[in-house]
Every structure is written in C-alpha cells, then in structure tokens.
C-alpha cells in the first residue's frame, strides 16, 4: 500500500515539471549562486576594499605608507578624483575624500595627518603617538575594521627603519642611556636599513597591533538612530515587493484559465490597456506595502522616515512600478500558477542574492557587485540608501530612478510581447 503511494507520487513528480524544477534545479542553482558569490577560487576574485587616501604629511614615511597601501592586495587605493571636463586626476584633500565617502564612491578615506612622518610609530600609549584618521561609511561595518588591522601590519613592514629607531629610543630611555659610540653605530645601521627598504615592496606581513593609532570616524552613521534599519527595510522591502507583484500578476493566468481574459478582450479593453491597468494596480499595492513597512520601521526600529519623505516617495514609486512590471513579465511568461511559483522563486531569490536584498553587496567581490547592477534590487537599495543613509539631495537619485524607470519600460514591453499569446488566435 505504501509502495503504491510512493509510486503514484513519483509518477506525478515526473510529469509536473514545475515541481521537478523546484525540487532539484532550484537548490542546485542557489548553491551555485552562493558559491559564486562567496567563493573566491573561481571568477570574480576576492573582495577588495576601496580606500581614498589623503597624504597631508607629504613626508618620506607617509609616501612609503601610501606605496605600501597600494601594494596591499586586499585594498584598492584611490588617490584622487577626475573632475568633469578634465583628464587629469585631482588628488584628494580631506574635504573631497570625506565627500567621496558620503556619496558612497568609497567606503573609507584614510587621512595621514601632518607630522605623521616624524614619529610614525610609538610603542604603547603616548601623547606623541601618531594618529591616522579613517573616515568610514558604516553601512559597510566590515571595511573599517579590516583596514585598521591591515594598517598595523603595513606600517610595521613599510617602515622598519622607523620601527627600529623607535626601539632604539625606547632602549635609550629605559636602558640607562646609550654611549656616543653605540648611538653612532645604530644610526649607521638604521641608514642602511632605510636605504634597503626604500627599494623593497612590502608584502603585507603579520599585523603588529598597536604600532599606530587609527581613529575611525563614522561620518554617516554618527547621527543615525539605527544605522542598519534603512538597509534592511530597503533590501527586504524590494524582495517582498517582487514576490508580491509576481503573485498578484498571477491573476492574469487565472483570468486566462477561466476564460475571463477572452471575455475582457472582446469588450472595449485592449491588451495594452489591460496590462497598463494591472501595472497601475500592482504599483499602488506595492507603494502601500513599502509605506506600511517603512512606517513600521520608524515606529519600532528607529528608521527616520519623517526626515526623508520626498526621497522615500520618489524611490518608492520608481521601485513599485519596476517590481510591478517584473511581476507582469513573470505572469505572462508562465503557463500556469505552478510554473509562476517555480519561476518567481528561482528568479527573485537569485536577483535578491545578487542585488543585495539577502547579503549586503559590499561583502561581494567587485565583479559580482558590478554584475548585481543588472537587478532591480541593487538600484532600488542604492536609491533608498542615498535617501536614508547618505541624506543626499533628491536630485542625486536620478541614476537610480532612471535605471528603475528604464527597466520598467523594458519589462513592460517584454510583458506586452509575451502576452501576444493571448491575442486573437
């Protein structure tokens, strides 16, 4: 009897292609996507953290530090910007580097202060201890910690002569004083060490904690009540909007199956108008969903919606329209409700993984981050982050709004084309 049950369901599974895909293909696809996102062995490469570097000191030591930073594999050092209409790079100063962080062009800016080169390294707490300043965008909380650690190691290996000199001074101070002969010999060796290291490219090496003071300043999150809530609300909001639009778009399949669609198309309503009406409906529902979600975020999770209403509304409408058009494409592509469920699970989860709804994109390699821009999630999340995180003016939302609206147009055109199967037979 049990065998009969098993056999019956196996036969059903074999003939139900959507269930088959859900059972076997979707897990493989997702394993591949996540392995691709986080595995560095093939394609994409490991994640490199971009750092804007401002050398206010201009000393030999500070230049050597910058060179060492550039040689570090885990970092991508940006020294300046290329202004519009110019071909040459303008080096960063403190203000322009801070602006670059605020605008999200780089997650970090390292300021090497004046006089850093004189005493770049100190052992233990000291008033003369040099302070490197790290201006951070804590929407990526990993980057400042990684770079702080890397700096300790880089400083140690990039400036062995400075380290040795500091050591000599400490011995001089605590060891009862060096003789003139010892001091002269040490100076000579330090000169040799400096000359030798000037031509050697540092390899990073082990971190020597506490050699330099790194002061991290969270220039974006310092005034925010709950820095992570905006990222979460935007990421999850877009993903659920896509699911919700795909589900609601399934009404088109039900209308086709029940004969209602045929009946509608025999009235004065054309397919184009019908689809436009559906986009309008789906968008209105999506806008309401996002409003409810963000109001909830404001009430219970410190998301400062009241301070960002215009930008929020612009991004909400653009995102809602794009997600609605996407839902319509899935519905027009699917032959049945079951197919729609399989297809939407596959595509929406993949888009959400790539586009930053599941995992922040800053954790992914640069290549994957760029590839993620093919998803609606990435553009929507970037736009919401500009509004809620960077407090950018509304006009700065134009790339995200333009991308979402262009995507909407393309998706609508695709939905209309796919819906031709319901046109006159």
């Amino acid at each position: 009897m049990i065998f009969a049950v098993v056999r019956t369901h196996l036969a059903r599974l074999r003939r139900d292609r959507a269930a088959f895909v859900l059972a076997f293909v979707v897990p493989i696809v997702f394993f591949s996507i996540f392995a691709g996102l986080f595995g560095s062995s093939r394609g994409g490469g490991a994640r490199r953290i971009s750092v804007a570097v401002v050398d206010e000191d201009g000393s030999e030591n500070s230049r050597r530090l910058v060179a060492a930073l550039k040689a570090e594999k885990g970092l991508s050092v940006v020294s300046g910007t290329i202004p519009k209409g110019s071909r040459s790079q303008t080096p960063f100063d403190r203000a322009s580097a801070e602006a670059a962080v605020r605008e999200g062009n780089v997650p970090l800016a390292l300021i090497i202060p004046k006089d850093f080169g004189r005493t770049p390294i100190r052992f233990g707490a000291s008033a003369r201890r040099p302070k490197l300043e790290l201006l951070a965008d804590s929407s990526d909380p990993v980057a400042p910690q990684v770079v702080s650690g890397l700096l300790q190691g880089i400083v140690a290996t990039a400036m062995p002569e400075a380290m040795a000199r500091t050591g000599m001074e400490e011995i001089d101070r605590w060891g009862g004083g060096l003789t003139a002969e010892q001091r002269a010999k040490m100076e000579e060796n330090l000169r040799v060490l400096r000359d030798r290291t000037a031509s050697v490219t540092p390899a990073g090496g082990a971190a020597a904690a506490g050699l330099v003071d790194v002061q991290v300043r969270d220039i974006l999150g310092e005034t925010k009540k709950n820095p992570t809530s905006a990222l979460l609300a935007a990421g999850l909001g877009v993903m659920f909007l896509l699911f919700s639009a795909a589900g609601a778009g399934g009404a088109l399949i039900e209308e086709a199956e029940s004969g209602t669609l045929d009946r509608i198309l025999s009235t004065r309503v054309s397919m184009g108008r019908l689809l436009l009406g559906k986009v309008a409906y789906l968008s209105a529902v999506a806008v309401t969903q996002l409003v409810v979600m963000f109001v909830w975020g404001e009430l219970f999770f410190g998301l400062e919606l009241h301070r960002h209403i215009p930008g929020f509304l612009i991004m909400t409408v653009a995102t809602a329209v794009a997600c609605s058009c996407f839902g319509l494409v899935l519905a027009a592509l699917s032959r049945s409700r079951i197919q729609l469920v399989a297809l939407s699970n596959l595509l929406i989860l993949a888009m959400s993984a790539l586009g930053g709804s599941m995992v922040p994109r800053y954790l992914l390699s640069e290549t994957i981050q760029k590839f993620g821009l093919v998803t609606l999630n990435a553009w929507a999340i970037d736009g919401f982050m500009k509004v809620f995180w960077r407090d950018e003016p509304i006009v700065n939302l134009w790339p995200q709004v333009a991308a979402l609206l262009a995507g909407s147009l393309l998706l609508f055109a695709a939905a209309r084309r796919l819906a031709r199967r319901w046109d006159v037979a």
Binding site: S258, T260, D262, L265, S266, T267, V269, V424, A425
Partner: protein, 310 residues
C-alpha cells in the same frame, strides 16, 4: 441602401495546428432572429462564435457584424458575448462583476448604475447582489454570466451553450431570459447540442458537423427537406404478433419487433386505420399507439449517419 445584417458569415475557414475547425462556413442572422448552431461536441460550434467575438481570426472568408469587422470598436459595443465558461470574477459579488464588465464596455455614471440594477433584476439576482459569486448556485452563476454579456445592451448576443450543467428549473429561467431578449429584438447566435433547446428557442437552425454547415433552415423546413413529410407511428400490441400479421404489416413498410410495430406514414389518418383493421381482424388488442413528427435527432442521423450525442 440596404441595412447591414446583424451577422454575416461568408465561407469562413479556420484551422488550428493543421486541424480544420471550420471549413467554408456560411450563415447569417436577421434582425431580431435567434439562429441556433446545433451540433455534437467538437463539431465546430464555438469557433465561429469566438470569431464573431473577435477572439479568433479566420484563415479565409468574411465576417461582419452590422457591416463592421469584429475588431471594430463599434462592433464591440453592438456585440455581447456569453462564453461557455463562467467567465466571471469569483471573489467579486454579482453587482461588482456587472460593474466591471459594464465599465469595460464603456458604461459609466448613472447609465452604469441603472444597467446594473436592471440586469440584476432581469437575472433574478437582486437579493443575492452583494454575495460572493463563488457562493452562488450553478444556475445563478450561469444567469450572471449572461447578464455580464448583456449589461451594455448589445444588439447581437452570442450565447455559447448557456445551459450546460444547469438544473431544469434554472434552465427554464434562462429560457425566459432569452425570450425577453427576443422581445427586445436582440439578435442571437445560440450554440447548443440539446435538440429540444434548439427546437424550442430558435427561429432557424444551422446544423454543424466537422466544421461544416450541413443543413440550415427552420425546424420544419429541415425535417421536410431531409426526411420529407412522413411521421412515425408506433404501436404496441398485447400479444406477440403472429407471422401472417407480420407479413401483412411489412407490406405497408412497417418494422416489427415482438409486440412493437413502427412505420413511417405520410397520411396518418388513412394508414393508421389500415394497421388497426389488421389487428382487429386477428383479434389482437392494442396496448399503446403514438404518432410522432420527425425530430432534429433523426435529421442529424439521416445527414451524418451518427447520433447527435451529448
């Protein structure tokens, strides 16, 4: 200048994936007329209806509604379509469904409200107007399906098997609704595979089989053209019919089976009297006697060699 007919279908052919669904179909509907398209399942009744509804494009031939192409916006306003399926929104109420299809047909404001109230009343659904449609009985859904196709007051209504799966009581109510449409001079194209329905409702009948119209005309004309003026007399005797009587009866063209006799008669008054005299002479009592006109079923059987099956 002559006024265009509500519907003209001229030599229309249509194939789906190489299979011919219509093969040179021609018929027309005159103002206020009900034309029945009678045929078994799969005969090709629905395809011309969908063509007139603008949902199927013919491969060849011509199709016009009041002189307009089915896709023309004027034709959309003049035409109403009641599909075979219950093509309604199940979660909406009858009132909301009628509002939806009224709006889709361009009605608005007071005209729409008036049409909704009138159609709910016409379909006998006024007291269930605000319930969910999926909670109505099968007959009620069928009536609402018809009302949704007539909400905008079409001059030509396409009814595709509107009584399928309906109980006798609801079927009678639907017949009444169709009678009221006829009284309003609405022209109707009515597809069915129920012979009685076609005989009762339709002014003219076109019999369709394998995508071709094999005969058309009034019910009487179809019978006369196909089977002549003959009627069928059936007699059942109290005793088995002996061989000599059987022989006498077969001379009159009768068939005998045990106690049952059946014969085609053109002059019933004379021929029935002759049969009865034979039985009387042999002392054979009569248990039952019936005289029937030929049916469309017989017409279809005669034309195709097959029964008009359901």
């Amino acid at each position: 200048m002559t006024e265009s007919l509500p519907l003209e279908v001229r030599d229309v052919s249509k194939a789906f994936a190489g299979r011919k669904a219509l093969d040179g179909v021609t018929f027309e509907i005159f103002p206020g007329e009900i034309l029945g398209l009678l045929g078994p399942n799969g005969a090709g009744k629905t395809t011309p209806v969908r063509g007139v509804a603008g949902r199927v494009l013919q491969d060849s031939g011509g199709l016009s509604l009041f002189g307009l192409s089915p896709a023309d916006s004027g034709a959309r306003a003049l035409r109403g379509w009641v599909p075979q399926e219950i093509a309604l929104y199940p979660l909406l109420s009858p009132r909301e469904n009628l509002w939806t299809f009224g709006r889709y047909q361009g009605l608005e404001g007071q005209a729409l409200e008036t049409a909704i109230v009138a159609n709910l009343d016409w379909a006998g659904l006024s007291d269930r107007a605000d319930e969910r449609t999926d909670r109505l009985s099968g007959g009620m859904k069928r009536r609402l399906n018809i009302a949704a196709g007539t909400i905008h007051g079409p001059r030509l209504l396409l009814l595709d098997e509107p009584t399928v799966g309906v109980d006798p009581q609801s079927r009678e109510r639907i017949y009444e609704m169709i009678g009221e449409l006829k009284a309003r001079s609405v022209s109707l194209l009515y597809t069915t595979h129920y012979m009685e329905e076609a005989e009762r409702l339709c002014d003219r009948i076109a019999i369709i089989d394998h995508g071709r119209i094999i005969a058309s005309g009034t019910r009487d004309a179809l019978v006369r053209q196909t089977l002549g003026a003959a009627q069928t007399v059936s007699i059942e005797t109290e005793l088995a019919i002996p061989a000599d009587v059987r022989e006498a009866l077969t001379k009159f063209g009768a068939t005998v089976d045990g106690t049952k006799v059946q014969a085609s008669v053109e002059d019933p008054a004379v021929q029935i009297r002759e049969f009865l005299e034979i039985f009387h002479a042999k002392g054979i009592g009569i248990r039952d006697l019936a005289l029937k006109s030929a049916t469309l079923e017989q017409v279809f059987l005669h034309l195709t060699g097959r029964e008009l099956r359901e």
